[in-house]
Amino acid sequence: MIAVIGITLCLPATGFLLVKNASQLSSKIEYDAQISVFLSKDISDDQIEFIGSTLKQSNLVKNLHFEPKLKAWEKLQTKLKLNSLDAGISENPLPDAFFVTLNSLDTAVIESLHDDIQNLEGVNEVIIDSGWIKKLRSILYLIKVALFVLATLLAIVLIVVIGNTIRLQTLTYQNEIELSRLIGATDSFIQRPFIYTGIFYGLGGSLVNAGLLTVIIEIFNRIAYKFEHILGGSIVLYNLSLNEYLLLAALSMIIGLFASYYAASQSLKKIKKNF
């Protein structure tokens, strides 16, 4: 019984563990957001200099690189190997551009910087290039939501499983319950041992879950260690923190309490009807 609860708990807990590790990993990745600032075509050199110095003053800017339109044009031509391209195009279609490397990944900060630059005179377009990390994070967020749904479903499963077990136990003790009622036991007195059992199931299940998770992590880390040279870097899964385990235990105990209370009071109602 306790093993069943432990395994049921283990499913969402493993998922949560993976997401937690993945989001920790994603925040550790040395990745710098970049923004590209494209300037208007008819901009003067003074304006370019002004924009450049403004960007330099911002403490968010880690690195600043100016690419004049001519250079960009040459680059494009060599890249495309189309020397004849300018035959059809009379003038350089590319604008001057600043490529800015930022020292922050905070979306809100980047957004506000983006707006500030956009408002500068002579700036045509500002493009933020932190897309993939954003995508990763939104995927992780989606997985989190999915896990939450899964956890909710499994909580319902737990309620049913514990409730059913308690109901069977009340059947086993039916004579005793009936007699206790006849000689003046209150409903809460009769329900109490069953509710304790339910809470105990919750607690036991969460202990089993903690053990299972620890074993899973240990096995995973050992395998990952073996493949370290292939993967080119160690991947280490971290266990849940003590607080998270305590929260999990509290939750499963509450589920146990709720399920057993419901099952016991239902059985009691049925027994009351019998006489």
């Binding site: 007699l179 000689i183 003046g184 209150t186 007195f189």
Partner: protein
């Protein structure tokens, strides 16, 4: 102490089990509820012990109208009765001591008190040497005495027994009856249902049921 006024009880509209029952039981009395099988003895006993509620009519117990009593208060009322059931209702997965101790654990009695009082109750019915024995190994008469011990362990002021001697031979039945008489002698109200009133050495009141109606007759024997 207990007063029934115009009590009707039916389990289905076509089947009136008890009709227009009125009587009064005073503290310390010995009462026999008599009548043939199906006359409504067990139902009357259940009404007295508040296990059933009447369809209509009024039951006053210690100046309290039972129909005013909420379901939450019911268990506390029941603790005032010592109940001996027709089918004993002993728990066969527990030994004699634990069976007798059950009402005390419901009352939150301390374990020292439980020990003392359970032994006293077992001693009273002559089963002290069997406290560790499982009830299934006891004879019918002994099981009945065990049920009595369980009923008296919480020292109720009213003892209610539903056909306590129903399937016992005469010698055992006399033993059981003498136990009840001894309780009545010390001031306990004793209510016993039985086919017919026995040859009792002490004064008692008889509630004689005929087809759910009371053919009330006070039969004082030896006074």
């Amino acid at each position: 102490m207990i007063k029934f006024s115009n009590i009707f009880k039916s389990f289905s509209p076509a089947n009136e089990v008890l009709q227009n029952i009125s009587f009064e039981i005073n503290s310390g009395e010995l009462i026999f509820v008599t009548g043939s099988s199906g006359a409504g003895k067990s139902t009357l006993i259940k009404l007295i012990s508040a296990l059933e509620k009447p369809t209509s009519g009024e039951i006053i117990f210690e100046d309290q109208n039972l129909s005013d009593l909420s379901n939450i208060d019911m268990p506390y009322l029941r603790r005032k009765f010592g109940m001996i059931f027709q089918d004993h209702k002993l728990l066969f997965d527990r030994n004699c001591f634990e069976n007798v101790a059950l009402p005390l654990s419901i009352n939150d009695t301390t374990s020292v008190d439980i020990n003392r009082r359970v032994r006293a109750a077992l001693n009273k019915v002559g089963l002290l040497d069997k406290e560790k024995v499982m009830p299934i190994t006891l004879s019918g008469g002994e099981q009945q005495r065990l049920a009595i011990a369980r009923a008296i362990v919480s020292r109720p002021s009213i003892l209610i027994a539903d056909e306590p001697t129903g399937n016992l031979d005469k010698k055992y039945a006399d033993d059981i009856m003498n136990i009840f008489y001894s309780f009545q002698q010390v001031g306990v109200t004793v209510i016993i249902s039985s086919h017919e009133a026995p040859q009792s050495p002490i004064k008692f009141k008889e509630l004689h049921l005929i087809n759910g109606e009371l053919g009330n007759k006070d039969v004082p024997l030896l006074s």
